[in-house]
Symmetry: C2
């Protein structure tokens, strides 16, 4: 399997916020050799949008794309919009899987470490 | 020092999103004995607002309040609004310190673990 990881954020009118997400994707690529590629995509306001992001991963050789919602709460964007946008991608024989959103993780250790800085 | 930790999120019209933040604050309280109390507060749309949250921590005995922005990007809310709201609190001789926002942490390990679930 050639797995790709697609980090999906909301997207912002502020270019620097979108660049922050792209930088996280780059750090993920550097931190793991499980994925043949790691990219960022956005629900709106920035590019690539989710279907394009998925299709680009496949065009670059992925046969499985893990969509990872970079969101803190399980609102409509996470529950409805991201799955709906992901379903619009033309994936051929590739698989798309949606991972749990960031806010569902155990963030205690990370948060306590920030608080202590 | 009696330190309190105040987890500050944006606040949502969806009560369940605000409850998610309060649940994170409760898990932080359970995960650490460094703070005499851990609470949640909100920039808008939910209660308590930031100045009230800080004042409540002090009323409950804290002499230092660490404000921890539960935000993923360093937008205006993190850079300007949270410090401005925190400065409105009546703190007497207590200290308020603003910690780095969540998105500035190294989230690679947490994100890769979600992607693998």
């Amino acid at each position: 399997m050639n797995k790709a990881l697609l980090l999906v954020a909301h997207g912002s009118r502020r270019a620097t916020s979108n660049d922050e997400v792209r930088a996280v994707a780059e750090r993920l690529a550097a931190a793991s050799d499980e994925y043949v590629l790691v990219r960022a995509a956005f629900l709106e306001l920035a590019e690539p949008l989710i279907p394009d992001g998925i299709e680009q991963c496949i065009a670059e050789g992925a046969d499985e794309v893990v969509v990872l919602p970079y969101f803190l709460s399980a609102g409509r964007h996470v529950v409805e919009d991201i799955p709906a946008e992901a379903a619009k991608a033309e994936v051929g024989s590739a698989r798309v899987r949606i991972a749990p959103y960031l806010g569902s993780a155990e963030l205690e250790e990370v948060l306590l470490s920030l608080a202590a800085r």
